[in-house]
């Protein structure tokens, strides 16, 4: 397990990897980031990804940007953080602005609308799959599998069915999980 780990070799490697990653992310980079960093590049294990994601999620700012910034700064300090931000943003921003110019001309075309629909359906599947794949990381969680499943299901129902604001989820099942983990780790 340990020897399968890898890391970015240089600032340029970090920048290029994240640029390539961001350019694959239609409808958000969430699914791609997991696939590239854990499955393909192996900069993070599944378990580490879930831990870092928890931090990236709870701090203000877009979670994907936060995560990449954290990874960059871990390996190369503030220069790594800047390279990661630049990788996630520079080329994709040019792309989205070019699309805005194109949209002003062809946006009403039925083929364009259809293609967007089809890509949206795929993008949803990518994110669900990322979640299913990471669920394997919970086997080694100190909370134990039954409690993990319960908290995961409550979260899913809260966000996807009841459409509760994120704050409720973090203060509800989120806080519950943290308290339970604190106890099981031996902190009283």
């Amino acid at each position: 397990m340990e020897d399968s780990r890898s890391r970015p070799t240089s600032l340029a490697d970090l920048f290029l990897t994240l640029t390539a990653l961001a350019l694959q992310g239609f409808g958000g980079v969430l699914a791609v980031v997991q696939h590239e960093l854990v499955v393909r590049k192996r900069w993070l294990t599944k378990e580490e990804f879930v831990e870092e994601w928890a931090v990236a999620q709870i701090l203000p700012g877009p979670n994907v940007i936060n995560l990449c910034l954290m990874i960059g700064s871990r390996y190369f300090g503030w220069r790594g953080a800047l390279a990661a931000l630049a990788g996630m943003l520079c080329v994709p921003t040019v792309g989205v602005l070019a699309l805005a110019v194109a949209y002003a001309r062809y946006g009403e075309h039925p083929m364009a609308i259809g293609a967007l629909r089809g890509m949206g359906a795929i993008a949803a599947g990518l994110i669900i799959a990322a979640g299913l794949r990471l669920a394997g990381a919970l086997k080694s969680n100190p909370l134990g599998v039954p409690l993990c499943v319960a908290l995961g299901v409550i979260t899913f129902v809260g966000i996807a069915v009841l459409r509760l604001p994120l704050v409720y989820i973090l203060c509800g099942p989120g806080a519950l999980g943290c308290v339970a983990a604190y106890r099981r780790l031996g902190g009283r």
């Binding site: 961001a22 350019l23 992310g25 239609f26 958000g28 980079v29 969430l30 699914a31 831990e51 928890a54 931090v55 709870i58 203000p60 700012g61 877009p62 979670n63 994907v64 940007i65 954290m70 871990r74 503030w78 931000l85 994709p92 921003t93 792309g95 989205v96 602005l97 949209y103 946006g107 039925p110 083929m111 293609a115 629909r117 089809g118 890509m119 949206g120 359906a121 795929i122 993008a123 949803a124 599947g125 669900i128 799959a129 979640g131 299913l132 794949r133 990471l134 919970l138 908290l151 995961g152 899913f156 966000i159 996807a160 994120l166 989820i169 099942p173 989120g174 999980g177 943290c178 983990a181």
Partner: protein, 193 residues
Amino acid sequence: MSTPALDLAWSDWLALFGHFLSLSLMAVGAAFSTLPEMHRYLVDRQHWLTDPQFTASITLAQAAPGPNVLFVALMGWNVGMNAGGYGAALIGAVVCLVGMLLPSSLLVYFASHWGQRNRDRHAVRAFKQGMGPVVIGLLIGTGWIMASANGDPASDWPLWLLTAAATIIVWRTRLHLLWLLGIGAVLGGLGWV
């Protein structure tokens, strides 16, 4: 479509920058949570964007590759276009994106350093481990919400089938994600789903 012709002074650009600076630290989870506030300011109060421009900024950013937060750059772009043209639009995009990301990125940078130094503390480990199942529930839930845009399962079942197939293929194989997105675009463009 009528778009406003704006005459923006330096103070207006500064106000735009300040608005996004102030929203940055409120955007917990995703930048989308601050959308109502952006709408109130840019459309209702300042009239810098029209309603269709506001909505198109979000949809286009979703359709383009890259982080969702780029919708902020598009809003700035459209404000700039209303104010004169491509030069102003470019300034608008940069002003909004930098404003949105600067405060939160600084906070994340220092917070992650603190967390890294204190990673063996019980509280830090408990937080990261305890949030695990919630993080995964949120991911699957987000995918589900996006899939709901597929429409009614009874009439739009091909789209739902496409989502299900993509889920299983990505979960179980290492196929490059771009192939799947390409297939989705072709099927949708030809009107088969």
